[in-house]
């Protein structure tokens, strides 16, 4: 076992209140951790860089997304293989082992002893999948119209990716502008806890949508069959990968994954970093690394200009962090962790220019090259989707009220196309108000519609009027259809599922 401590004890923005000390066992070694940490983070904090080995070529794999969207942290926990260690909270006495091949059950008695949890059937007005900014606002909005809501979230803390955002939000004061992301998460979680109409199922996964309008949800010792009158899918997004030699080496981490490690859990992701991609995520993570005491060697960008907002770029430039435009990563080197990264300049057609290589001694290469909507559940449900590069990937076609071609199935947040948390919250609100307008009595129904129209107007005509949001706006325009067009699509591509 390596003996290092990557935990952050002093941070300019966040106070890390660690929970009770617990001991768990990692390949025979007792591991000290704190309640509230995930198994993956607790191991990483002590210097465990390798989380698994690839089944075929035994290549070491380290943390990548840290939010349950990839498979590099699959471990065997208490004999059960393929557990996402990034989503599994530490507990006293856990027995954790890494997988050197396909995950195998430790002993057959686990299967013999296994008693499936009894299924709880839940009927509710609104089911929200995903407890991030879009989902939480959607739930609160629905509860405000006296609708019963169930929230399903894979993590053991509410807030989604707000939990790792330390910068103050833009926008205006009514939209939580000025508060830091993790503070917004805290505020929303507090409001949710006070709402008697909202039931929260933490550490659970919505694994499928079924005929008759049922959603299957599973937790470690629980199974739910939920029949909602309306479904809101707010599953967010996952980070994109980039192709280069040794891109699977531990230390090549998604920028968001590094944010989770450092800002949600207070653990230093490394000592010295190179960031690939200068969109807002890349620029913001560079600044956050500085705040956590990590050296940032450079941010590289293949395009001739910086991808993100100028103000985010200025924040790191003034501390001397270079942003190298027209550069891409060539390869990384290291045995079980990145030791060195080589970058190379590109010409107008993005062809590498031999002889322009530069080397950086770094133990972290953060990929900030974009996000991809997590539309898997919507696709499984039979929603018509379209591939939209400007929105990050496949997104469900929807009305402006965010209803998909599956009746009474709505989307909100990054699943509808990558924007940011403020737009996600507005979309959550719009979807919920549209649902409320269908489910509540006529007097309040018109109020809900009026409110939705007001937010739609603000979102489309004022907020998205920013030229910096133009690409996403155009993408969203292209997949937003009228009710008539929706009906046509529903006839052409009937879904076996509907809600209501």
């Amino acid at each position: 076992m390596p003996h290092i401590d990557r935990r952050i004890y002093e941070h300019p923005i966040i106070t890390f209140n660690r929970g009770k000390r617990v001991i768990f066992y990692f390949e025979g070694h007792p591991i000290e951790a704190y309640e509230g940490e995930s198994v993956a983070v607790a191991l990483y904090a002590l210097g465990v860089d390798v989380f698994s080995w690839s089944p075929k070529f035994s290549r070491p794999r380290g943390p990548f997304c840290m939010i349950g969207k990839c498979s590099s942290c699959f471990m065997t926990i208490n004999g059960v293989p393929n557990i996402k260690a990034c989503k599994y909270p530490v507990q006293e006495g856990l027995v954790v082992e890494r997988q050197r091949s396909w995950g195998l059950l430790a002993k057959s008695s686990i299967l013999e002893d296994y008693k499936p949890a009894s299924s709880e059937k839940i009927e509710t007005d609104v089911l929200v999948i995903g407890g991030g900014p879009a989902g939480l606002i959607a739930a609160l909005t629905a509860a405000n119209y006296d609708l019963n809501v169930v929230i399903v979230d894979e993590h053991f803390k509410l807030g989604g990716q707000l939990l790792k955002q330390t910068h103050k939000f833009f926008g205006n004061v009514e939209l939580f502008g000025g508060l830091r992301g993790f503070q917004i998460a805290e505020e929303l979680a507090k409001k949710i806890a006070l709402e008697k109409r909202i039931r929260v199922l933490m550490s659970t996964i919505a694994y499928g949508v079924f005929r008759g309008g049922y959603v299957g949800v599973v937790g470690e010792n629980a199974h739910y069959i939920i029949k909602p009158k309306a479904l809101i899918i707010a599953t967010g997004a996952q980070e994109k990968y980039l192709d280069f030699p040794n891109n699977d080496l531990p230390g090549v981490i998604g920028a968001g994954g590094a944010q989770t490690i450092m800002n949600e859990f207070g653990v230093k992701p490394g000592e010295s970093a190179l960031i690939v991609g200068s969109g807002n995520v890349g620029l913001i993570v560079a600044y956050q690394l500085l705040q956590a005491g990590v050296r940032v060697r450079a941010v590289i960008e293949i395009l001739p200009e910086i991808g993100g907002w100028f103000i985010h770029a200025a924040k790191i430039r003034r501390y001397g962090i270079p942003i190298l435009t027209r550069h891409t990563i060539k390869y990384v080197e290291g045995d079980v962790r990145v030791r060195k990264a080589t970058i190379i300049a590109v010409d107008e057609k993005f062809n590498p220019l031999p002889g322009t290589e530069k080397e950086f001694d770094v133990d972290l290469v953060l990929l900030a090259i974009g996000l991809e909507p997590d539309s898997r559940l919507a696709i499984q449900a039979g929603a018509v989707v379209k591939y939209m590069p400007e929105l990050g990937g496949f997104v469900p076609v929807r009305t402006r009220f965010l209803e998909t071609t599956v009746k009474n199935m709505y989307i909100a947040g990054d699943i509808s196309g990558i924007e940011e948390a403020t737009a996600a919250m507005l979309e959550g609100k719009i979807a919920s108000l549209a649902i409320a307008s269908r489910l509540v009595d006529t007097s309040r129904s018109s109020k809900a519609l009026e409110e939705a129209e007001k937010i739609l107007k603000f979102l489309w005509e004022e907020y998205r009027a920013s030229p910096l949001l133009l690409r996403a706006k155009r993408g969203k325009e292209a997949v937003t259809i009228s009710i008539n067009e929706l009906e046509v699509l529903r006839k052409k591509f009937p879904s076996p599922v509907s809600f209501g």
Partner: protein
């Protein structure tokens, strides 16, 4: 035909004084010489107007949420509230009216937080070390420290960051 030079801040991450001036973000010289005044280095139409409601003098105007901020220079008292609340850490207060030195107020979110009287390294928009400054005032709002530094005369429009010790 008038030749207008292209803005380069999107390529460099550094905005030039001349670019700020063209965007009406730089106070006129006569206002600068009157005393402390805010400079909002916010050159892009991003959807944000946090500074507007927080300005106690109602000196910041925006036509819409994406408009560039406009300061009514004579209303601005240089109080520094905008420095504390700007989510982009793009607001600064500059006082170049004094004979002996210039004074710059900047947002600061790195450890260690300097104390009044400390000597600190002063940095330009590109991170170049311009010399040494002395911390005059420190206050905080939601973990953004607002720090006023006395800097050598002539550097008031250049200093945009400080460090108590060199970065690793």
């Amino acid at each position: 035909m008038i030749y207008v030079e292209k803005f380069t801040f999107r390529e460099t991450g550094i905005i030039k004084l001349e670019e700020l001036k063209r965007l009406n973000l730089l106070p006129p010289q006569e206002r600068l010489l009157k005393g402390p005044v805010a400079i909002l280095e916010c050159p892009e139409e991003i959807p944000c107007n946090i500074c507007v409601p927080f300005c106690p003098s109602k000196a910041i105007q925006m036509e819409s949420i994406i408009a560039l901020p406009k300061i009514v220079w004579d209303k601005c008292t240089g109080c520094g509230i905008c420095v504390a609340v700007c989510p982009g850490l793009a607001a600064f207060v500059v006082d170049i009216s004094k004979q002996d030195a210039d004074y710059v107020t900047i947002p600061h979110e790195l450890l260690p937080v300097p104390r009044v009287g400390d000597k600190v390294m002063i940095l330009s928009r590109s991170g170049e070390i311009l010399g040494e400054g002395v911390v005059i005032r420190v206050w905080e709002r939601n973990k953004t420290y607002v720090i006023t530094i006395k800097v050598p005369k002539g550097l008031g429009l250049e200093v945009r960051a400080i460090l108590s010790r060199p970065l690793k």
